[in-house]
């Protein structure tokens, strides 16, 4: 039997995609625990690489910590640094490839403990690299030991009675500290505990990469992140703890925004 064919131009699209997985993420499953916001941080960086259309020109330097396999997750060229040394390796990569966009992705144990010298001096030299600093106030990968960023009183496997200032000193505020160094052009702290803050974090990551594209200097975004597994919480409880314990101690804000970055998305109005 004959069929009645309607003309194509009468067909309207019924829907449009308003969100999809960024193409700068590889099509693989990550090893991160359920609800770990390392995944969120990865997604945001990948979305920014997509939006700025710099994926083909970007080189990642992975660090040691739970994000050690990040080179398998970002669809960019990458190399793996020894624990804490990512900013030093990124310095070399950027200096021999000044046209490339080079970023490190580091945890708080990596960046604020064993790698303190590397991060401080990369910032002091004003290396034109971008640092994504994921602060979850613990050593996640090795089983939940105290980090330099663990809160006072925080129970970890190496501070079972809670962090004691007499014994372990006070937690370090890295975003504020790095903002003091002259080579830093952008140093801010954001949080990943809810949708609104995740969107703000993305804008900051974008500005940090723009600082490098414009060849201005060292840029760093500190992201308050969760570790449900080692905090002994459900993923949603962990986000509440980020909001109620981490954010009050590590205030969100812009600690240094070079005037050439003012007015960008993510910079103060």
């Amino acid at each position: 039997m004959d069929t009645v064919v309607f003309k194509q131009n009468h067909v309207q699209p019924l829907e449009k995609i308003t969100y999809e997985r960024p193409s700068s993420l590889c099509d693989v499953h990550t090893h991160y625990c359920p609800g770990c916001t390392h995944g969120t941080a990865h997604r945001l960086v990948a979305e920014v690489l997509d939006e700025l259309d710099i994926r083909e020109d970007t080189i990642l330097v992975s660090s040691v910590g739970c994000s050690v396999f990040s080179y398998n997750y970002f669809d960019v060229d990458a190399c793996e640094a020894a624990h804490g040394r990512a900013p030093a390796m990124a310095t070399g990569v950027k200096r021999v490839n000044p046209g490339k966009i080079v970023f490190t992705y580091q945890g708080d144990g990596d960046l604020a403990s064993i790698g303190t010298a590397e991060i401080i001096h990369a910032a002091a030299r004003g290396e034109k690299i971008t640092v994504i600093f994921v602060n979850n106030a613990i050593y996640g990968m090795t089983g939940g030991q105290m980090a330099p960023t663990s809160l006072l009183g925080q129970k970890t496997t190496s501070s079972p009675f809670g962090r004691d200032a007499q014994l372990a000193g006070m937690p370090i505020h890295m975003a504020e500290l790095l903002a003091q160094l002259p080579g830093t052009v952008y140093s801010v702290r954001r949080s990943l505990h809810d949708a609104r803050h995740v969107l703000q974090a993305k804008k900051a990551i974008r500005t940090a990469f723009e600082a490098q594209i414009d060849n201005l200097g060292f840029s760093v975004v500190e992201l308050l992140s969760s570790c449900p597994t080692n905090w002994g919480m459900t993923p949603n409880e962990a986000l509440t703890w980020v909001e109620e314990a981490l954010v009050p101690f590590y205030p969100l804000g812009d600690y240094k925004v070079d005037e050439r970055l003012q007015g960008r998305k993510g910079a103060p109005k």
């Binding site: 969100y19 997985r21 916001t37 969120t40 949708a195 949603n236």
Partner: protein
Amino acid sequence: MATGRIVIDAERCKGCELCRPACPQSVIQLAESLNTKGYRPAMLVDPLHSCTGCALCAVVCPDGCITVYRDLPQKQTSLPKYEMKETLAHVEAVA
């Protein structure tokens, strides 16, 4: 109010439930069945079509499992008259 839907990659999902409280319309639940990784994946349960396509669930998903669609407003169009006549004639002819 805009309407939409989400598609969750059930194999990628880790059942972390971060998307559930993030959804203002409360239309995400965990499946009773397990995926290959052994997690109960999130799924859209939206009998009244109250999903707005706001994408807040996708913004908080750490594993990038969620694709969000928004329904487009449909223009009311009718076939041009002469075509309608032809079409009717055609339908009659083949019937």
